[in-house]
């Protein structure tokens, strides 16, 4: 590409926002064209226009389900951040604590939520609570692991400086460990935000709850049974957009707090 010929395409904002949108539009156009040209039946692959039409006609139902999924995602994400960060603080207080607790955190991580979900759903009479617990279990590990790593990655010279100036444990935590941990913490947030959404959807698949409190996963299941493929695609689209929005939100948060000093957010 000749940079003097198309300089606007090289502009960072254009590059980050416009170019993926442009690619998306082109792909959607091709998809629409292919569907029309080969007369693909709508119960196999609906065209983008079909999906858009369903999004409007089934709007109240789909957005209600989205709201439910969002609630579970946000609650479990918040819980994961809260509990995960507290656990990380406990872990870095002593090596003995970390050594005895960390294997169980790993156990939590490697056990698939699909396998645990039925148990949790049996134990909890409240389905929403059961879903939140499942999603929290999925999202919490990257928060713990990254925050522990961050709280430990302290410049040893700075630690010596704090010791030399008789800093209390509290001062070291507040003025040294927490700021040092921020870059790793935000990396953890980014992973966990996506996992909370995945957890919320997967748990609902397992729970298979319907009725008024149904989320997007239930809509996908139902649409599948009824071969209502355009609705299935519409629900899928909403989940994907939610994930992208969450990820972007975390990226903005990281940028706001690190832009002045951390290498990852410079330039």
């Amino acid at each position: 590409m000749n940079p003097s010929f198309t300089p606007w395409l090289r502009h960072p904002t254009v590059l980050r926002i416009v170019s993926p949108l442009l690619l998306g539009a082109v792909l959607l156009g091709l998809w629409q064209l292919a569907c029309v040209a080969w007369k693909v039946p709508v119960y196999l692959v609906p065209s983008p226009v079909d999906i858009g039409r369903t999004l409007v006609s089934d709007g109240p139902m789909l957005f209600g389900a989205l709201w439910m999924t969002l609630k579970i995602t946000f609650f479990s994400f918040a819980l994961a951040v809260l509990i995960g960060t507290l656990a990380a603080f406990v872990f870095v207080q002593s090596r003995v604590l970390e050594a005895s607790l960390f294997p169980y955190a790993i156990l939590l991580q490697v056990t698939p939520v699909v396998a645990v979900a039925p148990l949790i759903i049996i134990w909890c009479s409240n389905t929403t609570l059961a879903l939140i617990i499942c999603a929290t279990l999925v999202a919490i590990f990257p928060i713990i692991a990254n925050t522990v790593l961050g709280l430990r990655s302290v410049n040893p010279g700075l630690l010596n400086l704090f010791r030399l100036n008789r800093a209390s444990r509290w001062q070291v935590l507040l003025r040294l460990r927490i700021p040092s941990a921020l870059p790793c913490f935000f990396a953890g947030l980014r992973i966990a935000s996506g996992l909370a959404l995945i957890g919320a959807v997967v748990a609902e698949f397992v729970a298979g709850t319907g009725g008024t409190g149904a989320g997007l996963a239930y809509q996908i299941l139902q649409a599948g049974f009824q071969l209502n493929i355009p609705r299935l695609f519409a629900a899928l689209l909403l989940i994907a957009l939610t994930g992208v929005a969450l990820f972007s939100l975390m990226a903005v948060l990281a940028r706001l707090s690190l832009r002045n000093w951390h290498e990852s957010e410079l330039g």
């Binding site: 410049n155 010279g157 700075l158 010596n160 400086l161 704090f162 010791r163 030399l164 100036n165 008789r166 800093a167 001062q171 003025r175 040294l176 700021p179 921020l182 002045n260 000093w261 951390h262 410079l266």
Partner: protein
């Protein structure tokens, strides 16, 4: 006078004060200090050293001679395996804001990247809970002293290596210490920057009641800066010579090429070679 000019390594040991006579005029006194690590490596062997008020003492030696370990002990960051260190005759250094106090400058600038230069310099005062209204003037004064007054509101990454080191020195000076410990502070800088900082440091020392202990492996730097050079040998780390540098008080660039300067350097170089054998 406790200190005497020594003409060669054979003139050791230097006359040292008795432990009970060490007082406010002796910011640092190491008595038969040893350091043996748990793996059996002996880093320091029976180091006896007294540093008097107002001296600029360089600890000079090859890497592995334990000079940084000794400096960490002087800072109270490491405990000797045997022997003891006294600060102004007491067995622990005073806290940074109370009277006789010490500050340290590390090999790297070790600034907090998330804090502006002025907040970095204020850190020791903040940690001692000095109210901001009171600490601001000290921070400004320290920054002016190292020539960084225009850069108080920038982040460390925006400064060059030399300026970061200046900020680090300003941070050490913010508590107005009587004893400044410096661990190869200019080792990572280019020669021009290093010479400039050496000369500024020398002036700073001459202008106030400040005792400096400066670790270096550069003979030229040691001779240029110091009123006294303690030459150390390796395996195990020990003091092999203790030499007074009789240069002028005012040391300008011309001093770096004067015959007296070169003669002192040559002598130190010879001592180091004798004590440490072939360079490895």
């Amino acid at each position: 006078m406790l200190m005497q000019t020594i003409t060669g390594a054979s003139a050791l040991p230097q006359a040292l004060p008795r432990a009970d006579s060490v007082g406010v005029q002796t910011p640092l006194f190491a008595n038969q200090v040893e350091k043996t690590y748990s793996n059996g490596t002996q880093a320091l062997s029976r180091v006896k050293l007294a540093i008097q008020r107002g001296e600029f003492v360089s600890l000079l030696g090859p890497s592995g001679c334990g000079k940084s370990t000794l400096l960490k002990m002087f800072a109270g960051l490491e405990k000797p395996s045997a022997g003891h260190v006294r600060w102004w005759g007491k067995d622990s250094p005073a806290s940074p804001t109370q009277g006789q106090s010490l500050a340290m400058v590390f090999q790297e600038a070790t600034l907090m990247p998330w804090a502006k230069v002025s907040d970095n310099v204020r850190l020791p005062l903040d940690l001692a809970n000095v109210p901001k209204a009171h600490s601001q003037s000290k921070v400004d004064a320290a920054l002016a002293l190292v020539g960084l007054d225009r850069f108080s509101q920038v982040y460390p990454r925006e400064l060059s290596g030399g300026m970061q080191m200046r900020a680090s020195i300003a941070r050490a000076l913010a508590t107005e210490p009587n004893l400044l410990l410096m661990d190869e502070p200019f080792g990572a800088l280019d020669e021009f920057t290093r010479n400039k900082l050496d000369s500024d440091l020398r002036q700073l020392w001459a202008s106030r009641d400040l005792t400096v202990v400066f670790v270096t492996h550069s003979i030229f730097e040691a001779v240029y800066l110091s009123s006294r050079v303690v030459v150390m040998g390796a395996r195990p780390g020990r003091v092999i010579a203790d030499i007074e540098i009789d240069g002028p008080l005012e040391r300008d660039e011309a001093y770096r090429t004067s015959p007296a300067f070169i003669a002192q350097c040559a002598r130190l170089s010879r001592l180091l070679a004798e004590a440490n054998g072939d360079p490895c």
